[in-house]
Symmetry: C2
Subunit: 246 residues, 2 copies
């Protein structure tokens, strides 16, 4: 083909089609080929019926990018799918890196989406109304010592703390260690929101405390938001005040 | 009216209608009344033609919430509009607080949106692919000493740093002070993305360094993203690697 291909890196949001943006849907509809992790591609099956779909298993990020690039080099418009926001622990960085290293002239456009912290926050109430940090507890690609250091800094600064990838089959102890570090700076009764499948089918939502948080189920579909020293609960909602005089 | 009212707190995203979610649009379409800051309500004028609109000027957050609550108490479905994500320095917290303090039984539902950090990141490339903090430099509601402390912690932890509200007519020096603090931890040549009107009409995007950043226009419509020690630039994009072996 003579046509120059293009890659949209599309954040589809938390999962329910309703929380996708119009721009994300437009990018998908404009695309000839959809590339993504099967679980995420399945979430949008209703809008990709007529498309060529190349879906792969977990932890195949590099292969997925190479596949997307191959299709784009052939002149196709490709949507590379991430859940949440492709720019937050998603596919945006790796596809840009791979395209640049390959010296390809294929254009890459990142289409932002609702990331898990914002989706979980909406379900909990308003826990990230003030300064917050986002930390992934996965040490597959990051030294655990750096993750620990960041947890200390987050605690020291009285930030609201959003924890991604808190636990998986192979990583069980990280969330316990993270809690211990945060407890050096935050009180036992600091509120903690635990959201599983945020804004996705089967959502569950618990508001508890740093002391009690490990009594609840936590897995790789869970996002955890630990409040700051002013976070409180009212009528079942978790609220971090911005500071208005009311 | 007998009907019980409801308030949707709707994050409309960065501004262009395309970056709004379907859920946000649904909430607005279901609403009898739209309440919001005039500048943001104007961004969505195409979809609110037949609605009652109560828009107010800046810094009238409390009045806007009271207005929304009044309409909801009368049995209306109300959309209270925030730009970006209502749950990030937006209207979600204050409306929940005001409804709870009033002892009203009106239901409040937060509809998440794309916040400025994610919108700006998408335009820059992939700068927030790794752990990041979000800090507002506005000291209207927060002690400057706490903001400084958080900047120190963010620097110490080698986080990517997203700065909201970097400058306004009345606050000119905060961004200079923030830069000085970050320079205690980050090198002069650390990459800085400056995005004005991210994913909105008239967007401009600059990638520079901590050393040079003050040479560029920064105002209240600007979001600034300061990289971590691994952030680099390739083909005009700002990339913070996640750590994949490529």
């Amino acid at each position: 083909m003579d046509k120059t291909g293009k890659i949209f890196v599309v954040g589809i949001g938390p999962g329910n089609i309703e929380h996708m943006t119009f721009e994300a849907r437009n990018a998908i509809e404009k695309s000839d080929v959809i590339v993504g992790y099967k679980t995420y591609v399945d979430l949008i099956e209703d809008i990709i019926r007529d498309k060529e779909v190349a879906s792969t298993g977990m932890k195949k990020e590099k292969e997925r990018c190479e596949e997307a690039l191959k299709y784009a080099e052939e002149g196709n418009t490709v949507s590379l799918i991430s859940s949440g926001d492709a720019g937050v622990y998603g596919m945006a960085g790796i596809i840009l890196e791979i395209v640049f290293k390959s010296k390809s002239s294929v254009e890459v456009e990142v289409v932002p989406g609702i990331t898990a912290a914002n989706a979980a926050a909406a379900s909990l109430g308003a826990p990230i109304m003030h300064d917050y940090v986002t930390i992934s507890l996965s040490d597959l690609l990051t030294d655990w010592s750096l993750i620990e250091k960041r947890l200390h800094c987050a605690g020291e600064g009285d930030f609201v703390v959003c924890l991604y990838n808190p636990k998986s089959k192979g990583r069980q102890k990280e969330i316990e260690k993270a809690r211990e570090i945060l407890l050096k700076y935050k009180k036992n009764d600091t509120l903690v929101g635990i959201v599983r499948n945020a804004k996705r089918k089967g959502e569950s939502c618990v508001i508890t405390t740093l002391e009690d948080m490990l009594k609840y189920d936590i897995d790789m579909f869970t996002t955890i938001i630990v409040g700051n020293s002013h976070t409180y609960m009212a009528k079942g909602k978790m609220i971090t005040p911005r500071g208005y005089a009311l």
